[in-house]
Amino acid sequence: MSGSSSQGSLHALADRWLPKLVLSPTLAASLIFVYGFIAWTGWLSFTESRLMPRYEWAGFVQYQALFENERWWTTAANLGIFGGLFILFCLLVGLLMAVLLDQKIRAEGALRTVYLYPMALSFVVTGTAWKWMLNPDMGLQKVVVDLGFTDFTFDWLVNPDMAIYTVVIAGVWQSSGFVMALFLAGLRGIDDSIIKAAQVDGASLPTIYRRILIPSLRPVFFSVLLILSHIAIKSFDLVMALTGGGPGNSSDVPAIFMYQFAFTRGQLGVGAASAMMMLITIVAVLVPLMYMETRSAKRV
């Protein structure tokens, strides 16, 4: 009798502790590798670390160096241009394709497959492909010139003023299909009877989309914005593969700046400071977005 009851409390004990025990390795990893490392990077950004990490407090010298570095501001401006246009065009193209695909299209499955496959590719592959296509000597420019438009130039890839826009082209190519998929899923999730009711009310198809369907995609907009801005701020591989940040520093972005200062130039402190700035940027963009999203979710 007492044997069975002590075994009983053993079961109860196991069920009580096992879940916590099972979760603890991941939690420990998160504490160390996410929170601990952020703190570590934060600390480095307040030291004089150069080639080797040093841990004496040095105040804001690295941030000062960062803000006095013209190249940093170039990357910031590029991030603004790239991020803004990338998000804008992904949204426009994605929404347009979702609406068009929503018209009971015959080969919808095949078209969706075509629009979405770039998402399966590495940004490095995307960059390599577009680097070749945009090559002024042998790429699209040559194709158009061969067609007889001998004055045609399309040299954005090697033009310092325009190089960042090629990143936008390749980025939109890679990610807009995914945006389309999200919007399409959103459109399909809308209750059919709403559309029927609007039709009975005599609304035309464009009106139904403009006034009823697209506004009800609001939560999807937030998710998409969240993901796209995340991709934009972290973007590294695409730029590396497509332009390498060049010509010169003209298409440089913060992620490349951070990588080069931290790992190839031996300026750990500046690298750490730039990483912290990226973190702050992401927090500044994501937190308000998430806040708005949860608020809009509550209202719906």
Binding site: S4, S5, Q7, G8, S9, H11, A12, D15
Partner: protein, 369 residues
């Protein structure tokens, strides 16, 4: 089989909500206990605590004289049927029924015999190799019962087991559960919303609200002698009429004054005069069930007060016709014989059987007499 006693049980969730505030219930071996109450009153919480699925914040639960507070569900010797049935989706009916026995390391031959016996009893033998996804709601419900029956536990716990069935099936299953209880003499705790289930199945009913047992007793006792306004209104369908009224002294009688458009009468109350006297001149709530306001033919008792009332609406239900009138500006339901009922707009003589009427204090909602 075993008795169950619940002593001063409280439950506070992690977020600070007090769901149960001192529950005391005791039932004997083989009794059928019903827990009823409005949604969110803590019925499922109490059931989960009996099962060991939720921690007990304070108080004790004992099954067959053995305190089980610290025991895990596995060691409490209970079986449970859920509202959603909770059949394991990846297992066949046979596997669903035998899972608990398997875990308890019952010999294979015994498991097979038990599955066979239970399946025959519930007439689901032909379903044994199916998966839950391939069955109707009623069939799933039977399997869920089968899973509980296979274990032959000390106590069965049912959490609204019939609420997902359609009306006809629900009535059938209700009878089957009653039969099963009579045959197996098992101890059962049964949660329901449905007060017909509560009345027909239970040996004892605990009416709960706001984490407190409002009344605990036999179904008839609760029906006839509700402890307060809430219980009176919750049990019975159509529910008891609550008419705001003034207590008046008329001659040697004490009664309540009831008016409609035609005028007023005083219904003399045969209750304890000493208690009533204190309320003369005060507002009370006069509670009277629909079957206690009826036509002369149905009442077939003399000497009851009669009043001619103006009919607003009638609702024929088949065996009876419900007649709605306005008394003291309150809509009142009366149960009359179909052939005796008059039509809306007409006037009808209604007989008030005040012997079972009850009075409540409007402020505390407690029973006066």
């Amino acid at each position: 089989m075993a008795a169950l006693s619940i002593n001063n049980v409280c439950k506070t969730y992690a977020n600070g909500t007090d769901v149960l505030k001192g529950i005391n219930i005791a039932i004997g071996d083989g009794e059928f206990l019903i827990l009823v109450g409005p949604s969110g009153c803590g019925k499922s919480t109490l059931l989960n605590m009996i099962a060991g699925l939720d921690d007990i914040s304070s108080g004790d639960i004992a099954i067959g004289n053995k305190r089980v507070n610290e025991l895990s569900p596995k060691d409490r010797d209970i079986a449970m049927v859920f509202q959603s049935y909770a059949l394991y989706p990846s297992m066949t009916v046979r596997e669903n029924i035998s899972f608990g026995l398997e875990i308890r390391k019952t010999p294979r031959a015994e498991i097979d015999a038990t599955v066979k016996r239970v399946a025959e009893m519930l007439q689901i033998t032909h379903l044994l190799e199916r998966k839950p996804g391939q069955m109707s709601g009623g069939q799933r419900q039977r399997v869920a019962m089968g899973r509980a029956l296979a274990r032959n536990p000390a106590i069965f716990l049912f959490d609204e087991p019939l609420s997902n069935l359609d009306a006809k099936l629900r009535v059938e299953m209700r009878t089957e559960i009653k039969l099963m209880h009579q045959r197996l003499k098992s101890t059962i705790v049964y949660v329901t919303h449905d007060q017909i289930e509560a009345m027909t199945l239970g040996d004892k009913i605990a009416v709960m609200k706001d984490g407190i047992v409002q009344q605990f007793g036999s179904p008839q006792d609760i029906y006839d002698n509700p402890a307060n306004l809430f219980v009176a209104g919750f049990i019975g369908s159509p529910s008891m009429n609550f008419i705001p009224a003034t207590v008046v002294q008329s001659g040697s009688d004490i009664g309540v004054k009831i008016c409609d458009d035609n005028g007023c009468v005083v219904l003399p109350l045969p209750h304890d005069k000493a208690k009533l006297a204190a309320f003369v001149g005060k507002e009370v709530i006069f509670g009277i069930r629909p079957e206690q306001i009826t036509d002369a033919r149905t009442a077939h008792r003399d000497g009851l007060p009669v009043m001619a009332c103006h009919i607003d609406v009638i609702e024929p239900t088949g065996p009876d016709t419900l007649v709605f009138v306005s008394l003291n500006n309150t809509k009142v339901c009366c149960r009359t014989h179909p052939t005796e009922a008059k039509y809306p707009g007409e006037s009808m003589e209604l007989v008030f059987d005040v012997s079972k009427a009850v009075l409540f204090d409007p402020a505390t909602e407690a029973r006066i007499v």
